[in-house]
Symmetry: C2
Subunit: 289 residues, 2 copies
């Protein structure tokens, strides 16, 4: 594995990682499970706070080092919590150095290009963490489910995407991909909540009901995505996301562990000589001014 992560005992959350070409059946994944948080929600809140502080510190080092690039891909059905992850996992992390790219329905100009054109423009720069709220994977999800391009076209995309992500990682980008896994019952409750609270109505989109009706088709498309594009260099994680706190715990843990693995080093400090010289310049100026 590209990330060279050791045993489950040390990094249990990494069992949510999908291995390339492993047959994936989403029915085998329980969206409601919370197996690595035996202490439940209350204990998790503590861990989350701690992970958030670690993430804050790691992001600052990453920014200072100005070497690595980090790309976080968030995918999932409507209401699965993509916005919530951005809000909670990245709470308090310096907005300078963290950027969110949301991929909506492509514009006419974007459609005049290949589907990776607009995506490539949004990839992270050195020292930067970029979160994709939806991504190029929509081009093998919504595009497939609604037959927006012929099957012969979207079928080629898995390999194209793997090659694209390979390029990014070869050039110094670390990629983490999270599928936020909820079940239709959970979505129904969340949609009803959006209807019940007038101040949440704006989040409810009548179109969501149409997509919801295609749940099975979407799960099939997601299974193919997970099976065909979870590579050693850009792994997919299936995140149990019925419980929001557990979803955040899993993602925070994986993020922190991955950043720690990068062995980020701050730029070398100055030598005593250099510091003395700078000090001399600063005090000399007082005498001349």
């Amino acid at each position: 594995m590209g990330l060279a992560l050791p045993t489950e005992r040390h990094y249990p959350m990494h069992t949510y990682r999908i291995d390339l070409d492993k047959k994936v059946n989403l029915d085998d994944f329980d969206p409601a499970e919370t197996r690595y948080a035996p202490g439940g929600k209350e204990n998790a809140e503590q861990s989350l706070l701690q992970l958030n502080r670690q993430l804050e510190a790691l992001q600052e080092s990453l920014y200072a080092e100005h070497k690595h690039r980090v790309l976080v891909v968030l995918q999932g059905m409507d209401t699965s919590g993509k916005d919530g992850v951005i809000r909670r996992v990245f709470e308090g992390v310096n907005p300078q150095g963290v950027r969110v790219a949301s991929f909506k329905v492509p514009t006419p100009v974007e459609l005049d290009h290949d589907y990776l054109w607009r995506v490539h423009q949004q990839t992270p720069a050195r020292g930067e963490i970029v979160i994709f709220n939806r991504s190029h994977y929509e081009d093998v999800l919504v595009v497939r489910v609604h037959s927006l391009v012929p099957e012969a076209v979207w079928k080629k995309r898995y390999e194209q995407i793997n090659a694209f992500e390979r390029l990014l990682t070869d050039e110094g980008t670390t990629i983490l991909k999270f599928f936020l896994h909820i079940d239709p019952q959970e979505q129904k409750e969340r949609l009803l909540e959006r209807l019940e609270k007038p101040e949440k109505n704006w989040k409810f989109n009548a179109g969501d009901l149409k997509e919801r009706a295609l749940w099975k088709e979407y799960m099939k498309a997601y299974e193919d995505v997970l099976e065909k594009t979870s590579t050693p260099w850009a792994p997919w994680y299936v995140v149990p996301a019925n419980k929001k706190w557990y979803r955040d715990l899993v993602i925070s843990t994986l993020l922190v562990e991955t950043l720690q693995n990068l062995e980020i080093r701050l730029p070398a400090p100055f030598s005593a000589q250099e510091i003395a010289e700078f000090r001399r310049q600063l005090s000399q100026e007082d005498r001349s001014g």
Copy 2:
């Protein structure tokens, strides 16, 4: 005034606003004063916490309404606290909907265009807050101080900038510009601190000493900026920034007051009829599925 702000009694921080064509002498502005925080730092921490929560809520509404655009311009000498403002004032505000654009030394491609070309690309979209960490004002600051273009060229830029910012505001952008005002003694202390702490060395740039030697020239250039480009539609505020907590208090207050003045409204909630219809669709599907 475009913002139609009433008396100093109600909005005291607005006295830091510069009026167009008012003669500006930065010696008249005390970078160390804290006049609107009689309770000192401890009381200010409380206010800051409260302002931060208000900002968080206002940003969420702004994002939901998807109507206004907000541009915050941060300018100031090295170590004046631009990064600190981004970190502290915007702490906890949802990174989705807040974006930082840092303007560094222009690339060859950027230099092949006019100086506002790269800036225009970074202006906020509907519902978005964008923070400029340095900005097009460098094109009448560093560019002027180092004579990177002839005087005849940079002299025209004040009017060009006013026209550009007028366009942005006419089209729905609210602009706030903050000059973080510190004195050379404060800068010296901050530079020394960066030298003393090895983990802060990376923030120290030998080039900063050269810019520091040009302090008077920079102040002259800033005075012209403040005098010529503080318009009713895009006002400049001179923020006393020797005290970090006071700097953050002034900026948070001005931001919150300005956003409150926008009278942001969430999109209208659904009617009872619409809600009933959505509910019907959600329950019907259970019977068919």
